[in-house]
């Protein structure tokens, strides 16, 4: 009955506004939608546009004349020969970088999976006190700056790195494999993304009913059978998720190959960085390479998800 207008305060306006569905939707969706459009959609669209433009060789300015040359040059005019039987293919620097990145990322992912699974399994079976200690030891490297972890491997590798120094001290001469290069990068990436794999696997193993496994063992099933028939199918979503979290960032890695490659291993990240701000700065070729990589990742993910049931992924 009291005159509502007299009580009209900012707060009341706010309350009334928020009670209307349309307003509340606008308030909640609006800001992030603007952010996403301005800082994600627009830049990606712009990059796509630039990838079809060319660059003034003097000023580095963008020249808006449509061309597909930037893409054409990604795949044409290669020199590195690959032969598959009678087929000889000459790969360009870009193709080589893509192949190399995918190969390195695959190895790192497999290593992460093989290394992390037993630890995740142990973690899921520990009692609370031990669990806290071990998870602390796992999470600490996880939260430690990525750069610090990559740097730690720079100290380990190299002709006079810690590994070779220790080997030298016990009389085994410097081992070539412990110099900077592909192996160092694989180890660095495995170390960097290992905790992601571990935690994702742990999350799915933690939901596992271990009494089922006990029962299976009482019935005489061997460990291998149990792992094969029970643990792996039940944790498949975790495995796929973990692999994704290791694989995708490994493909686009920059710091690790830069620090551990001694200039000899050109992964995609380095190639794009060089084109974007390096000696031969060219926004158009950098954009084309970036877009091609984005497309390749989307295709790879699409293929992965074709073979893994999505509902299963979500069904932990």
């Amino acid at each position: 009955m009291a005159a509502p207008d007299r009580d009209e305060t900012l707060r009341a306006t706010l309350v009334r506004g928020l009670s209307r569905r349309r307003t509340s939707l606008g308030v909640t969706v609006g800001p992030s939608a603007i952010w996403i459009v301005l800082l994600l959609v627009a830049p990606l669209a712009f990059m796509t546009a630039v990838s079809f433009a060319s660059i003034d060789s003097v000023t580095f300015d963008i020249v808006w004349e449509p061309t597909v040359n930037n893409y054409y040059n990604l795949v044409a005019g290669g020199t590195s020969e690959y032969s598959l039987g009678p087929l000889v293919y000459k790969a360009t620097a870009f193709e080589k970088a893509v192949l190399l990145s995918y190969a390195i990322a695959t190895v790192a992912t497999v290593l992460c999976l093989v290394f992390a699974f037993p630890l995740a399994y142990v973690l899921a079976r520990l009692d609370d006190r031990m669990f806290k200690i071990v998870i602390y030891l796992v999470l600490l490297p996880f939260f430690t700056m990525y750069l610090v972890r990559a740097y730690s491997w720079r100290l380990m590798f190299g002709q006079s790195g810690v590994l070779n120094q220790v080997l030298g001290a016990v009389g085994v001469g410097p081992v070539g494999a412990f110099e900077f290069g592909i192996l160092a990068i694989i180890v660095g990436l495995t170390h960097a993304y290992f905790p992601y794999m571990l935690i994702t696997l742990y999350a799915s193993l933690d939901g596992l009913d271990f009494s089922l496994i006990e029962a299976a063992r009482d019935l005489g099933a061997s460990r291998v059978d149990i792992v094969k028939d029970h643990i792996i199918p039940l944790t498949l979503p975790g495995i796929v998720g973990g692999c994704l979290f290791v694989f995708v960032p490994s493909v686009g890695a920059f710091i690790t190959p830069q620090i551990l490659g001694q200039g000899k291993v050109q992964m995609i990240g380095i190639l794009i960085e060089q084109r974007a701000i390096g000696e031969a700065t060219n926004a158009a070729t950098a954009s084309a390479a970036s877009m091609a990589v984005v497309v390749s990742i989307v295709v790879a993910m699409f293929l992965v998800f074709r073979y893994v049931n999505l509902d299963e992924l979500g069904g932990v």
């Binding site: 360009t92 190399l100 190299g158 933690d206 000899k264 000696e279």
Partner: protein
């Protein structure tokens, strides 16, 4: 891509329900951390100054060292604000994008780019009265590379040259030649995996060209390096250089571009032969008493750089900016700069300010030696694409 978030979301839900902690308290922890962080944030906004006009310079880290800045400010009535950069291209882009910088000191090969992009002022010869003292050779280079309508557009500051260094304990005396990098039987030491090349096309491609120039019928490579204000290789030549470097790659220890990394790894014995600038080696010899390292200029010739100061058209105070530039080649400040970078000044008179050992390493250089050097140049824009692609292939 939406698939992923579904996966992560659900994993998260499951763990949340499994091991939920005490929820109420972490809010406090979060507020505390946010508060502390805000304090840091506000601390970041301090700063500022006033007084004499400020000249903003984007250049190499050597120029930012206290003795250099102090020496300039003592002699010029200006405050000098240095922004360190590690590449000439970056300096170009900074000046191209913003009017924040009065002066840049890129390497000589980038100056034509500044000039063509209409970014820089002609040299104010009244303000730069030390210009007449620099080696004649560098004034010739300026005339060849960035003079328009009789106006020079840059002032050479310091210079140096590239050759290679080797570990005399392992590598025997030999006639200096790029052969050592490309031919495994040139010296009687196993150099497999013991050679470092410079991690930059501009430094390493000319090495390949000079090596090829020395082979039979290769004189055109040298002409491409020397005849014009740009490197005018043909596509065939670029491909040959590329193939040479690709063949060389398996026997390399790696590519390094940072001076300090080069020094550190050379000292640790990571490699025996390293393609490098002379100043790195001087630094190594001077600071670390390394008497086992020898720097040589290959008989095929050597590439030389000279950094060149340019003044922005957008500068509010071009006169003062040129005075700062002039100071960089004055005997006093020039000597500080030479010490910082272990590189000789383009003004020979700077040597008078250095002590004897310093002068021997980076003081007055015999003009006849300077004659032998080939200045670094940009690649001709007609073959820029194949040239860039070639280097990418080498690194792939």
């Amino acid at each position: 891509m939406s698939h992923c978030d579904e996966a992560t979301n659900d994993i998260e839900v499951s763990t949340n329900s499994k091991r939920s902690g005490t929820d109420g308290v972490s809010r406090r922890a979060y507020l505390a951390s946010a508060g502390a962080a805000t304090m840091f944030a506000s601390a970041g906004c301090a700063g500022g100054g006033g007084g004499a006009p400020t000249i903003n310079v984007i250049t190499w880290n050597d120029f930012a060292q206290d003795p250099v800045v102090e020496s300039v400010e003592e002699n010029v009535d200006a405050t000098v604000e240095i922004t360190s950069s590690t590449s000439s291209t970056e300096m170009f882009q900074q000046m191209n994008q913003s009017g924040d910088f009065d002066v840049a000191v890129p390497n000589n090969n980038l100056v034509p780019r500044f000039l063509n992009a209409d970014l820089i002022e002609p040299v104010n010869t009244d303000a730069v009265d030390n210009y007449g003292s620099i080696y004649q050779k560098f004034r010739d280079f300026v005339g060849q590379q960035f003079t328009q309508d009789g106006n020079a557009y840059g002032v050479p500051i310091r210079w140096g040259w590239y050759g290679y260094a080797y570990d005399t304990r392992e590598v025997p005396d030999h006639e200096p030649s790029y052969n050592i990098m490309f031919e495994d039987d040139y010296v009687d030491t196993d150099l497999d995996g013991q050679v470092i090349m410079y991690d930059e096309a501009a430094k390493t491609m000319p090495v390949a060209a000079l090596y090829l120039a020395a082979s039979e019928g290769g004189s055109s490579y040298k002409e491409a390096l020397t005849e014009n204000d740009r490197m005018t290789f043909t596509e065939d030549q670029i491909q040959n250089m590329r193939d040479l470097l690709i063949d060389q790659k398996p026997s390399l220890e790696g590519y390094i571009s940072s001076d300090t990394t080069f020094i550190q790894q050379f000292q640790q014995g990571n490699f025996l032969v390293g393609h490098s600038g002379r100043n790195e080696i001087v630094r190594l010899q001077e600071n670390q008493d390394a008497d086992w390292v020898e720097f040589v200029v290959p008989r095929e010739g050597a590439m030389a750089w000279y950094e060149t100061a340019v003044v922005s058209q957008a500068s509010d105070n071009p006169e003062m900016a040129w005075e700062v530039v002039n100071e960089y080649i004055s005997p006093a400040t020039g000597a500080e700069l030479a010490r910082q970078g272990k590189s000789p000044s383009c003004n020979p008179n700077v040597a008078d300010e250095l002590d004897e050992t310093e002068a021997e390493l980076y003081g007055r250089i015999d003009p006849e030696r300077i004659e032998q050097f080939i200045p670094f140049k940009d690649i001709d824009s007609d073959v820029q694409e194949p040239y860039n692609a070639a280097w990418e292939e080498v690194k792939a």
